[in-house]
Amino acid sequence: MQVSFTGILKAYLSSENSIQTPIERKFAKAKRVEDVLNRKDDFRVYPVNEQMKMLLMAKSSIRDYKEPNSDMGEEYMKQAGIYRLTARDAIYYCTGSDIEAAKQLQKEIKEKGLNKQERQEAVSKFIEERTKDGDNAGFFILDSSDGMRYDIFAFGEAKKGHTFTSGFLEL
């Protein structure tokens, strides 16, 4: 059973001591919760205001503990296997071999000044490429700079057997 994007967000929102919890463990826990419930919580069925609430909370909780200028710092994030990438309108969290590819994608988005549709296409392509072997993990939150609208992507596989679905939301 795959883990839903909502499951992952909820894992982020609920994890105790989340700074000490590597991303893979959060995904694994999200998967186990959904396995017990035998139900995936489809993010797309949530009304927009609920989605916004969840995303904003997840975003702030992630920011809370992984700001590069926090006490833990960038180095700690690297040790924890989490890389945070910020750009004009994008935040991307990823692990391992995704990092360099994500950096490259972000650079492209920035340099080319892609519009919303182009960004979505670029990210979709990126997801497709990065997940075709089924061994990558991460999720992507693009915001439209006004702090209110997001495009969301979740994809990949944290560990074998811990796959989660990709989701795409256009607001």
Binding site: K10, S14, S15, E16, K29, R32, V33, D35, V36, L37, R39, D41, V45, Y46, P47, E50
Partner: protein, 432 residues
């Protein structure tokens, strides 16, 4: 001495189970903590809820969080009852599993110091009468469970499968418990069950909540008796009479009607009653009555016409208190396979519309309270001097509050007539 952390999920009815588990363990010499992250605790008991998906998810997530602490985690209550051995397979790291009707075995099972699975195949809850509840929440009010289980088969509800058939506690035991609580300083008791108005139907062969109320009324140092979770069918004339005759019985009826449209009530497998007439009758017969209800939006087959009926029902009745919930699709219920299901977004939108309407109603009703005096029970007195109380129209945990300014020395549990000086959507402000 072994130390056990207790974690509670769910409703007031489950809270009593949590308190009974704690009481049972204390009897056997275990030390109890409410801090699951206490480094000295040996076990963490998670008393779970499985009523709706969100509640179940919260329980499951917390189990995994506690497993991460490395402590021995015991999954108690509804989740174990619902999933039985399948849950053991899915969470093999858990140390123990215990069902809803097996909680009285908890201390004996821990004594063995071995992993355990003790979940009765068919729950039949019997209240452990000899166990002293270790109250987690001690204050002016205390819940008393008067019965367990449910004989109805409402289309959306999984409770009968988790809690078994309706089983009442004997009157003398409930009265004994109420006396005990009153002696400890509790001034309001709140009677709860899956269906309080059916109380006694098994033991005394007819609804006997009125009989119980007259007996409870003999406890002199009790101020208020509040009743939650009534059901329309067994709301008897005798019960209405008891409401009228017994001053201690708070003029507050909590009656989850769930919907108003006959077709939806039928689909819900609920009694098809005219909700407006029913509430009017209660209000006519019981002076000053406050009525609380809960409603479900987006039940399968609910269309715009049904919803409009519900909306107008709320508009016309003007409930004093109201809760609205989106339908939650639960396996092993009739409604699970009922078609068409209503999209989540629609369910939510309808819920928000009802709540918005109720907010306006509540504001209007509160505005009419200005200058009036209303009996209120003191709950807490804050260090800054602000006193928080509840009017008789407000049940603990679910309804509003009244904030009081006064120079008088007050004690939690005392009841005063508070003059309302201001209001907000759901709360009041007053002085003594």
């Amino acid at each position: 001495m072994k130390k056990v952390a207790i974690v509670h999920h769910g409703c007031a009815k489950n809270l009593i189970d949590t308190e009974l588990i704690s009481g049972k363990l204390i009897e056997k010499g275990y030390e109890i903590t409410l801090d699951a992250y206490d480094p000295d605790c040996d076990y963490i008991i998670v008393n779970t809820c499985s009523f709706i998906f969100d509640a179940e998810e919260e329980s499951v997530r917390s189990i995994f969080d506690f497993i991460d602490t490395g402590k021995k985690v015991i999954v108690a209550g509804c989740l174990s009852q619902k999933h039985k051995k399948h849950l053991k397979k899915l969470i093999p790291e858990a140390y123990g599993f215990i069902g809803t009707s097996d909680i009285d075995k908890i201390a004996d099972l821990l004594d063995t110091e071995k992993e355990f699975y003790y979940v009765s195949e068919t729950p039949h809850c019997v209240y452990p009468e000899n166990t002293q509840r270790a109250q987690i929440t001690v204050g002016a009010s205390s819940y008393i469970k008067i019965a367990e289980g449910c004989n109805y088969s409402c289309g959306y509800c999984v409770i009968p499968k988790l809690r078994g058939k309706f089983t009442s506690r004997p009157i003398e035991n409930i009265v004994g418990e109420a006396k005990n609580l009153a002696d400890k300083g509790v001034s309001e008791i709140v009677l709860i069950a899956q269906d309080t108005s059916s109380y006694g139907i098994d033991l005394y062969k007819k609804p006997s909540l009125d009989k119980l109320l007259y007996e409870l009324d003999k406890i002199q140092n009790l101020s208020w008796i509040r009743i939650l979770y009534t059901y329309p069918t067994n709301f008897t004339k005798g019960l209405i009479k008891a409401y009228r005759e017994i001053d201690r019985v708070v003029k507050y009826v909590d009656i989850p009607l769930q919907h108003s449209h006959p077709e939806i009530l039928k689909a819900m497998r609920r009694p098809i009653i005219n909700g407006e007439d029913f509430v009017k009758k209660l209000r006519d017969e019981i002076e000053g009555l406050a009525v609380r209800t809960t409603l479900i939006t987006g039940y399968p087959t609910e269309n715009e016409e049904h919803f409009e009926h519900l909306y107008n029902f709320v508009k016309n009745v003007k409930f004093d208190r109201l809760g609205a919930f989106e339908f939650s699709k639960e396996k092993n219920t009739y409604a699970y396979n009922l078609k068409p299901q209503v999209p989540k977004k629609v369910k939510q939108k309808r819920k928000e519309e009802i709540l918005k309407l109720q907010k306006e109603i509540s504001y209007e009703l509160n505005s009419k309270m200005i200058g009036k005096k209303i009996p209120s029970i003191i709950e807490t007195i804050q260090s800054d001097g602000l006193t928080i109380a509840r009017t008789y129209k407000d049940a603990p945990d679910v309804d509003g509050l009244i904030y009081i300014e006064t120079d008088k020395p007050l004690t939690p549990g005392d009841i005063y007539d508070v003059e309302v000086t201001n209001f907000s959507d759901y709360d009041l402000y007053g002085k003594i």
